[in-house]
Symmetry: C2
Subunit: 406 residues, 2 copies
């Protein structure tokens, strides 16, 4: 744990009282005081650009047709690392193309791979904005460390991504609700079999134009609470965005889908962790009779420190309208709140979806309803958060979280 | 758990009394009554072979120089799956070459990947033998199911591997202690981003000639007992050979190495799980005063059901010289046995190493010695197991575990 201990911010479990929100709001963030530096790095100033001679036909920016992750763009960004050749090479933007991978590469044998998900937006004013992408740089650095993949300077990668976004600007759909999904990835690039630190690695970034998660307004989901299989456990990699966290969840999600549920509610013992690949929030009247927004704390290393999670915590603390708390949440507490009519709303939160309304959850064969405002197909708070975030992303509300890319 | 429940054999936790070993010995094996069949499969009869026109220069079969996993062979075996094209295509043996991978492939984003490790040997009689490779076929099928990768008929893959071994026969070093490492791998072969079952997949098998794990006799190892980070937890994927189990262990192993330990002893809470990437065995005088060989049980899904583990259990039960037990083992029990002088031997067990003598382990800052026969640099039982298995592998002791490849 000493390797990762420093990633967990102190005091993030502490319940915030409304009175001291202002001074505490940011001290609890995983991203507070984040350090993006590294002596071992590549540099934006060394960036080479090779523009494509064969532009890819652009898909129709149609909310119903634009499937998530189905389309690459004209270019991609690559940087190679070789410890025997002085470390990182020069960043390179080049035409989108396949990777030529050695069959022994430990990225495909031992899952030496981590990634990020972020978004760029074409604002109402026609300008490009990226949403909190430096946070993703920080998380990617931490994921790399957790797999002994090489570190890099996050500011330099950020600057390279800015250039790449400008080059593929036409791939950002100029429509509210649409965006350009940004997928930075770091993989081992070995040509020898063996469970050992990678001498060679490849960092690459690809883009994919994406439509609104809900083409025709919110569509609340039903959750299946998984009580036997797990996504993460204390001491594992649940707080890192590493590939190995994802594939094993697929048959379990499939199983839930076959039973009529859209997502899995993940537990660790009786603690609630996440929903599907998103963080989870409950808005309730707590046992003390206070209105409270709660989400599982990061303390046990079992929760992905989502950028959207962090944004929602920060926004709602600033709103100062109800108590906002990060702590351990048990499934029994949520069941009790549902039974007693204290559950006001529940929602998932992530980059792809912003917020995802939850209308019911099934636990041990019993279904519990969560209120939904039928007009909005979401709770009022869920809806307000979605609108607030989108206003920032599309530049309607100028905000430091969505800097303009010049 | 319902998805994977059937993989855990019943009664495997039960302590065997010497009296009923004969009838119980195989009922406890993970591989007892294994079913290799699948309606969805490719067939050996459809195998296409394209021999290389550019043979790769063969490395020197020198025990000191032949690094594990450093050399591919002239050919590889590939089979592609596409659910929209009728499932599995035809198996194909072709020149060893790089994979042309789409940058969105979920094998490198979500670790949709699993593998096996097995060996072929050039016997003392000049004949080729493969060691229990059908067990690897079974485990690979189970790993695939655990990631929603497509199932296949294990007998068919086995027969294709036999053909491949014959084609690359010259790559099997004809020297006792050397072998041809066999690495079957199944990965997603998607060109779309998304955490969902793969429509396309690729099964490939590669070989690598390997030397003896210990070029100059055994070299016992020192273990660091990791108490904060984990390799596996109940409900997770510890019993599957999936890529995601491996990469996160690398920084933890690195940390142990920096402290002067060769391997990590993995715990789950106070239960002993594995050592490095091997299973672990203790040979001791138990609290009842009986000589006993113990290894962690498979019941909690946290232990890889190693083929070597299974072989050692089976052999020693047949020997009928001491009690042989699979059960939960706590670190405290092992510490107590070491303190009381009851620990006779300890060793790791796996395909690469067969057995790996352990000479000490460190737990919470205290070092505990494990006896070693200085002449053999291993315990007597450890040594005997190594010799017995090698005699089978090289055909000196004819055995059903090492069928001749004709």
């Amino acid at each position: 744990m000493h390797l990762l201990k420093s990633f967990v911010p102190k005091n993030c479990s502490q319940t915030m009282s409304i009175s001291n929100l202002a001074k505490r709001a940011f001290s609890t963030s995983y991203y507070a005081n984040m350090d993006l530096s590294s002596k071992q790095t590549f540099y934006r100033k060394d960036l080479t650009i090779e523009l494509t001679k064969n532009p890819i036909p652009m898909p129709e920016f149609d909310a119903e047709k634009l499937r998530f992750g189905a389309h690459g763009t004209d270019h991609m960004l690559s940087v190679d690392f070789d410890s025997k050749q002085g470390g990182w090479g020069k960043p390179y933007i080049h035409p989108f193309r396949n990777l030529e991978m050695h069959p022994f590469n430990s990225a495909i044998h031992y899952a030496m791979q981590c990634f990020e998900g972020a978004k760029a937006f074409k604002g109402t004013d026609g300008k490009i904005r990226m949403f909190r992408v430096k946070n993703n740089m920080y998380r990617l650095k931490n994921s790399c460390k957790s797999l002994a993949l090489p570190d890099f300077d996050g500011e330099e990668l950020y600057k390279c991504i800015e250039e790449y976004v400008k080059i593929d600007e036409k791939w950002i759909p100029p429509i509210r609700g649409f965006s350009l999904y940004i997928r930075p990835t770091v993989i081992a690039w070995e040509d020898k079999l063996g469970v050992r630190p990678a001498d060679k690695a490849k960092l690459f970034v690809v883009f994919s134009p994406v439509g609104p998660y809900y083409p025709s307004g919110f569509k609340p989901i039903k959750l299946f609470t998984e009580t036997k299989r797990i996504r993460a456990a204390p001491g594992g990699t649940g707080n890192m965005k590493v590939g190995g966290n994802y594939a094993p969840t697929i048959p379990i999600s499939q199983n839930a889908e076959q039973k009529g549920f859209q997502q899995v509610l993940w537990l660790w013992q009786d603690s609630i962790l996440e929903v599907g690949t998103s963080n989870i929030f409950f808005y309730w009247v707590n046992e003390q009779g206070e209105k409270e927004l709660v989400t599982p704390y990061l303390n046990e290393g079992t929760i992905l420190p989502g950028v959207m999670r962090d944004s929602i915590l920060s926004l709602t603390r600033q709103w100062n309208e109800f108590k906002v708390t990060e702590r351990r949440i048990t499934i029994d507490e949520v069941v009790k709140a549902a039974k007693e009519g204290r559950l006001i709303e529940a929602f998932g939160a992530g980059t792809a979806v912003i917020v995802c309304p939850i209308e019911e959850f099934n636990y041990q064969g019993v279904t519990y309803k969560v209120p939904i405002n039928p007009k909005k197909q979401a709770g009022d708070l869920t809806y307000k958060i979605s609108e607030t975030i989108q206003n920032i992303q599309y530049g309607d509300t100028p905000h430091e979280w969505a800097p303009i890319v010049n």
